[in-house]
Structures are given as C-alpha cells and as structure tokens.
C-alpha cells in the first residue's frame, strides 16, 4: 500500500505536454484552472489529484467538510469536486452553504448513492453535475472540463463549427454547401456537441443531457446513434469532425 501511494505522489509533478487522449485539456500554466477537491478517502483523492494534475489542473485537496467549506469560501477555485458522504458533514450541506453565500463555483457531486432520487437531491441542492462512485477517471475529467467550459446562455439563432452550421430557427444543418437531413434527436445531439466543441463528451454525459434519461440500458445505444450522425456529418471524402475516443467518448472538432 505504501508503495502504491508513493508512486502516485511522484505523479503529482506536472507532466508537460504529454497529456493523453484528451488534447482538449486546458492550456499553459498561466491559466491553470484550480479545482478544489473535497473527499475524505485519501486513496481516491490521490488518484483524482494525480489524474487532474497530469491533465494540467491545479488541485487543492480538503479531507473534511469543514476544511473544504473554508477553502471554498475563499472562492479561489474554478470548479469543485465534492464527495457527498464526508465525516462530520454532508457534501450537500457544503454546497447549500456556498450557494447561500452566493458563491457560484460549479460543483461536481461525487456519491456512492446512485439512486435517481439522491441524484435529484444533489442537483437540487445546487450541484451542477452528479457522478456516482465508482466512476471512470475519464468520466470525471470530462465532466470537470464540461463544468469549466460550460457554454453560457446564448440567444444565437445559429451555431457554427468550421464548415458545419446549424440554423436553430429552421432546424436545418449544413456542412459547407451540403445540407444535412437530421432527425430531431440527431439535431439535438449535434447542437449539444457543437456547443461543446473540442471537449470530450462521454456516453453517460450525452445520454443524460441529450436524451434526458437517468438510466443507461446495457446497450451501445449512444454509439449507434452517434454512428448514424457521423455518417451524415462526415462523408467518406470529407475530413472527419466527429471523433471517437476509444472507450472514452466523442469529440467534435473543426477540421484542421
């Protein structure tokens, strides 16, 4: 066990320019986003910190609710990860306290309670996203990324990424001059991805946000739907815009 921890302590050193898969990670040190992690389990905390540091985040760790609330009140974090079951305090209490103090730092709630009701409670308390333990680290990073780069409320009637263009009024899509026929669900999926271009979007995120379902049947549902959308957006002779990150999710990027 000691060896294990030691290995990860060494992992805290920033790893320059070697971030895997997600090239969409935040850029140079000057704008290193700060994440406050409130989590009582040391081992889990170490893994999360190692992963986030590797991807270019600055991580501050609080092991108890009281400590976490103090640091959150300082308001230096760009995003927070809060475990629900903390010694001495419920994670939701921290979030409620922050929201009452008008601190709007986006919060990702972590919980071993996976029930839909618990999830609803977490989001209602002011959490911005909810992730059930155990989770894939990729999922966690993707969600933190999504929270940090959450698109603001926009009144635009069109969304553009490279040659791809969505007209939100006429519900029509075009790539260059070629118009694309989309089913309503495909349109929503594409809009969601275009608003979050260059971000890794996991299957669970898409399923929750685009389909609005809280359960994920044991199927490759998202993959199949995504495959269809991809065939419409990226013709064989065109440069691909929708990228499948193996085992992790999807990214939409403007062609280079």
């Amino acid at each position: 066990m000691a060896v294990f921890v030691a290995e990860h302590v060494s992992g805290f050193e920033p790893v320059p320019d070697d971030s895997p898969a997600v090239s969409a990670g935040p850029g140079g040190n000057a704008s290193m986003p700060k994440v406050l992690l409130i989590e009582d389990d040391r081992q889990t905390a170490n893994e999360i910190m190692a992963e986030l540091v590797e991807r270019g985040y600055e991580v501050d760790w609080a092991a108890t609710g009281i400590e976490g609330l103090d640091r959150a009140r300082a308001g230096q974090a760009d995003a927070m990860i809060v475990d629900r079951l903390l010694p001495g305090m419920d994670g939701l209490t921290i979030i409620e306290a922050l929201r009452q103090a008008l601190i709007r730092t986006p919060v990702l709630v972590l919980s071993a309670l996976g029930a839909v009701n618990d999830r609803v409670r977490g989001l209602r308390a002011g959490g911005d996203d909810y992730l059930t333990k155990p989770f894939a680290l990729v999922e966690l990073v993707a969600r933190i990324e999504a929270l940090l780069r959450r698109p603001g409320e926009s009144r635009d009637t069109a969304v553009r990424v490279g040659p791809l263009e969505l007209d939100l009024l006429s519900r029509s899509a075009k790539r260059g001059d070629r118009s694309i026929e989309l089913l309503p669900r495909e349109f929503r999926l594409l809009e969601y991805m275009m608003r979050r271009k260059d971000q890794l979007l996991t299957r669970a995120m898409l399923f929750e946000e685009v389909w609005n379902y809280k359960f994920l049947p044991q199927s490759n549902l998202v993959d199949v739907h995504m495959g269809r959308l991809r065939r419409k957006v990226d013709l064989p002779d065109e440069q691909a815009m929708i990228h499948n990150v193996r085992g992790e999710g999807f990214i939409l990027r403007a062609p280079a």
Partner: protein, 467 residues
Amino acid sequence: MFAAKALFCVRLPEFTRSTTFRWTLVASGAFTLCILLMFGFVLAQAYWYMAVDVDGLNAGVAESIATKDGLEARIGRLEEYLRVDPHNVKLGGLFDAAGQRIAGNIESLPPELSPGAGPQLVSLVKIGVPSQERRSARAEARRLPDGSMLVVARLDYEITWIVRSLERALALGLIPALCLGLGAGAFLSIRAQRRVEEVNRKIKRIVAGDLRERLPTQGTQDAFDKLAALVNGMLDEIEALVRSIAGVGDDIAHDLRSPLTRVRVGLERARQNARTLDDLRGAVDRSIVGLDQSLSIITALLRITEIEHSRRLAGFGRVELADVVREVGDLYEPIAEDKHVRLAVAARENAAVNGDRDLLLEAIANLVDNAVKFTPEGGRVEVSLHQTDNEAIVRVCDTGPGIAPAERDLVGRRFYRGDKSRCAEGLGLGLSLVNAIVKLHGFRFNISGGPGCVAEIAGPTRQRAVA
C-alpha cells in the same frame, strides 16, 4: 417461621391469573348477585303474601267472636276456635279491662300490643306448652264494648319455616352453581392457557429462526383460529421474502463472481505472461470491462430496490403511452437496424395511463432492449399499443427463441433469470426491473409465447377529465 414462609410462598395456580379466569370470576359474581336478588324478591313476596293471609284469618276469627252477644258466647266461640289446632299454631285470649285473662291460651296480654291498630307482630307465651317461652306471632287485638280485650293470634313459625326452606334451597342451588361456574372458568382458562402457551412456544421457535414453524389451528374458526391463520399468512409472506432474499444473495454472488473471476484470472495470467506493454494494457482493459460488468449488476440491483421501495404516486401523472412507445422506437431503431432486425412500431391508438413517465419508458425500453438482443439477424421485433375498453396494453413481440412456458411465471419473480438469458451477455436484471416498475404502478405484466416471445404491460386507462 418456616411454615409462615411456606404459606407466603403458596402461589395460586397459573390459570387463576389468566384473563379468561378473571372474567369467569366476574361473571360468577354477577350471576350470584342476580340469584340473591331474585331469591330476596321471592322471599319478600312469599312473606308478604302469607302475612296477609294469616292477618285475614285472624281478623275473621276476631270478628266472629266480637260479634257474639254475651261473654259466655264469646268464650264458647273462642274455645271452639282453639280446639281444632292440628298444627298447634292458634292462639287466642279474652282479657278483662284490667288485663286479667278470662279465657283462651295466652298467658298474659303482651305489653307491646295496641288494640285496634290492625295486624301486628308480637311475642307471647302460650299456655299448656311445656317450654313456656315467648314466641313470635301475628296478632289481631280488639277492645270490645264491655271493656274487655280480645286477642286472636297465630304463631308465625310457619312463615319462618317457609323462609328457612327457601334459604336452604337457595344455598343448595347457589353453591353448586357457583362451583360449576368457577369450574367452567378454570377449564376454559386452562384450555386457553394451553393454546397461548403452545403459541408462545411456536413463536419462540420462529424467533429463534425456524421460519417453517406455523401456529396451530383447530379449524373451529374462533377468534384464536382466525388470529393464528392471520399470523400464519404473515409468516408465509415473511418466509417467501426471506427465501427470495437468500436467493438474491446467491444470484448476486453468482453474477458477481463470474466477471470477478475472469478479472482475477486475467490479471494473474497477464502478470506472469505479459511480454509487452500492449499485452498488459489488453489484460487491464479486459479487467476494466469485467469490473464494469460487476458494477452494472450492482447498479441494476440497487435500481430495482429503489423502485420497489419508492412511494407510489409520488411522480405519477398522465402519461400518453403512444409518445412513450414512439420514443422507445426511435431510441432502438438504429440498433435494430445495425443488427439487421426489423423494428416495427405501431402506436396509432392514443391511450393515457396514470404513471411515472420515466419509469414506464424505462420498462418498455428494457423489453425492447431484450427483444432486439435476443432476436437473431433477419428477425423482427414489433412494439404496439392497444386499447381495450378500460385497459391500455403495450405489447413487445419478437421472433427470438422465446421463453419456455415453465419459465414464464418464474421470469416475473424477482431476480429470476432464464438459463438462456444467463448465457447472453449483459442482460442484467432487465425483466426484474420491468416487473418492479409494473408492480409499483399496479399494472399487469405477462409473458406468453408467440412465434418468439410476447411481453405485455397492461394498465387501466386514464379517462380524460370531462370538462
């Protein structure tokens, strides 16, 4: 000392503390009181009746003597009256104005006697009787015109005797009745006590963990039997639940062990045999898939528990089933197409039910998910919505291998999984979930055989409110 102690230690038998016995005591007491009251009434009535009778007799005799003219005639009449006295109860006397006896068998004028005051109870001494004691009698006294006093009396021991015999009859009847009552009470309470003790014994065994034990019934349909039957019904339910939980434990253990074993073996082998980093990565990837599988089983179980424990009606509202069916169709159409399975959706009818939209969608999605999964290439899955007079039916038919009739009922049972589905990857606990959702709604779920498998969810339609 010891004797005193022993006396204190004497305890009444167990049954005397039973409720039945106490009630018997109360009932016996009330019964005794009733009898006493009744006898008292009878006695009072008898006494009063006989006293009136005797008084009437005395008054008649006194009248017949008083109306005679002359002392001699009166004495003659009195003596004639006294002469015939087989029961030795007649008394009579004539006294002069000074109170000296002139004739009759009364020794002296009783001091308490007041003439002309009607019938009264006096005590007097009869002449010619050896004991010479004062005896109680009912008397009639009259002062005659010549100043003399006429007394006609009758000993009341007849009345006393009759009262005594009535009292004796009462005692003779009451004591056995009381004993009988107490005996019946003791018998009943001992019997009840025995049943209670037997029930207690059985309950102790059940509490100790023997869930197969049942309370004894006697088939008499009395309160005891009904209670026992009720408790037995409860025990049946508990036993079934405990068994199903035990079964769940086995199922979970089985379902979790299989992927975890694969993970463990895979990691172990990779540790020894992997030559390259890619070998190792491959093994780790397979392990993660295995772990995810185990986790999804836990998630599904928790979800089922969540649904089973959620309060009904909390998120219930009007659900248009046609929308839900179409949505599920849209969701699975690409998947079916990829698998070269035709997915046909027929939801022309518009039926609304009372329910939780998300849950109903989850249930129907699970049925379609299963159907698509088990239908071989080139097959067909049909999702349709039907409406009968008062029921909306969502039917999912497929051309897959179907479910054997013997297994159809079992499928509805919690956590049961057919052997065929066990082999298919990733079924999870789909049908159990459907079952839980349908139960929460109070709908019907049944599986029948068509060419493949026909699964139906049926629920009462909700009428549009009439404005």
